[in-house]
Amino acid sequence: MPTHESDTLKTESLWSILLTFLKVGAFTFGGGYAILPVIQQEVVERRKWVSPACFSDILIITQGMPGQLALNSAIQIGIRLRGTVGGLVAALGVTTPSVVILLAIAAFFYPLFRDNIYVQAVFYGLRPAIVALIATAAIKMGRDILHGWIGIILCAVLLAIAIITRIHPIVVLLAGGLAGLAVCRRQYN
């Protein structure tokens, strides 16, 4: 039997799991790092579905595994509450608003307004803003992650390899992971 609190399955109705994550998906702007605090507020503080300690366990897994942050944490909370079905329902909740809203935009609004001069002006300004957003994300991530010269050198070498060879990003990611393993092994031995 599970003894740790975070292993206990609580019984919440699937309906309230679905509604909670529909709300999170429909009303939270700004992507993963903006969504996580909202999920925390909703499931830890308001509904007390999981304890703060349990939520930080969830966050560790969320950030170390593949996938979207909001989706990963939603699925884990759903599993804690109602097992596999709960996980699926939470995933459905957090994903559905995106699909509905983006389909409406892609199918109706984007074709309607794409050729409008003011919409073009907006996107003319949005493109460099998005590039600034991506560059900032890289620089901030670098500041948080690259501790010490080994990380910085690894990053610089991989950047050079990626620029020169134009190999697929997946190969660069795996190379980085293997280099991380190799560095760590040398430190332990």
Partner: protein, 176 residues
């Protein structure tokens, strides 16, 4: 039609599988797959879609996957790309939850992920440089980029401010 749907599913499955740590990790992968490998979108269209995905609620990569899927294969395409990008999360968490719990606290897995994150920093930097060549085309766009970069490095700024500032400055500075 079936073959494009399978290709879309496989492509977005790969994007989902290698988006580790969320956030902007999916940008270099989407760029490589959607622009470079398959020529499905131009860099400008890609940036427009990321902008729309940022200004709408919900996870950015799911938003982007839906939009790109619709552009390429209609409503079915959008469902397929979304399913593809969320499949790795669903499979890993629903089937391998326990294994994942152990793995995440394993020091080797930790150092693998640390190395992978160093690679991610390099890849996202490179993606911003590549996409910048499409976005930064004249003095106003260079100004928008530089101003937003400087402001956001000095203090934490929500992505929504980037969107609002970009849109307003675009309206003001566009060479009509």
């Amino acid at each position: 039609m079936l073959s494009i749907l399978l290709l879309l599913y496989w492509t977005f499955l790969k994007i989902g599988l290698f988006t580790i740590g969320g956030g902007y990790a999916m940008i270099p992968l989407m760029e490589a797959e959607v622009i470079n490998s398959h020529n499905w979108l131009s860099p400008a269209e890609f940036l427009d879609i990321i902008a729309v995905a940022e200004m709408t609620p919900g996870p950015v990569s799911i938003n982007a996957a839906t939009f790109i899927g619709y552009r390429l294969a209609g409503v079915t395409g959008s469902l397929i790309t979304t399913l593809g990008v969320i499949t790795p999360s669903l499979v890993l968490l629903l089937l391998f939850s326990r294994l994942l719990n152990k793995l995440i606290h394993n020091p080797r897995a930790e150092s693998f992920i640390n190395g992978l994150r160093s690679a991610l920093v390099a890849l996202i930097l490179l993606a911003s440089f590549n996409l910048g060549q499409t976005a930064i085309i004249d003095i106003p766009t260079a100004l928008i980029f530089t101003a937003l970069l400087i402001v956001s490095l000095l203090r934490p700024v929500s992505p929504l401010y980037f969107i609002a500032a970009g849109a307003i400055l675009g309206l003001l500075l566009f060479p009509y």
